[in-house]
């Protein structure tokens, strides 16, 4: 059973378009973290929030814990935003569980 599901699996945008990435999870969690990864690269934390909305630059994360879902909104996409976005809700056991990611490709 897949505990963390992300959609869409892949997304192609034209530069300057907005993106909406979705994450749903079946586990109990207190907060969700979003990571970014370039192909073959290390993961970099983008945002984490227990609930509600949190913004960092062009990124906005909205999490509704009771409904077991989170979303990541990327505004005015840039070519350098291309990569994989991973959703990772934490568990009560001092660890997080990762979704398979959304592969974003931003075209010029």
């Amino acid at each position: 059973e897949q505990q963390v599901q992300q959609s869409p699996a892949s997304l192609v945008l034209q530069e300057a378009e907005n993106a909406e990435l979705q994450c749903s999870f079946s586990i109990f969690t207190n907060q969700v973290q979003w990571f970014y990864q370039r192909p073959g690269g290390r993961l970099v934390s983008l945002l984490y929030n227990p609930s509600g909305t949190k913004q960092s630059g062009r990124l906005t994360s909205t999490t509704v814990i009771k409904e077991r879902r989170s979303s990541l909104h990327i505004s005015s996409s840039q070519i350098t935003d291309s990569g994989t976005y991973l959703c990772a809700p934490d568990t009560n056991a001092y660890k997080v569980i990762f979704g398979k990611g959304t592969h974003l490709h931003v075209l010029p």
Binding site: G40, G41, V44, K95, V96
Partner: protein, 113 residues
Amino acid sequence: EAAVTQSPRNKVAVTGGKVTLSCNQTNNHNNMYWYRQDTGHGLRLIHYSYGAGSTEKGDIPDGYKASRPSQENFSLILELATPSQTSVYFCASGDRDKPHEQYFGPGTRLTVL
């Protein structure tokens, strides 16, 4: 930001051989983690540690051992490597009470022939 380094960055091993992947972090984090990343599976937790001397099994521990000899170092050991263990391995560290704040190393690409 936490500094997490891994060595080697690339490794080719033979089936049945022993492989040791090393991870070092310099920010005095209590927790350290080993993941593998495969297409179609995403990141999966192999072993983790709460501090020096402790190791805990993650979601896919079979075929792997871990060692945490100090706060800074966490190793992943493949006693008898198999081709199914070909993958990219990531180490991460984090604060004891903040499992969501994990800082990742650059990864090690392991190929088992």
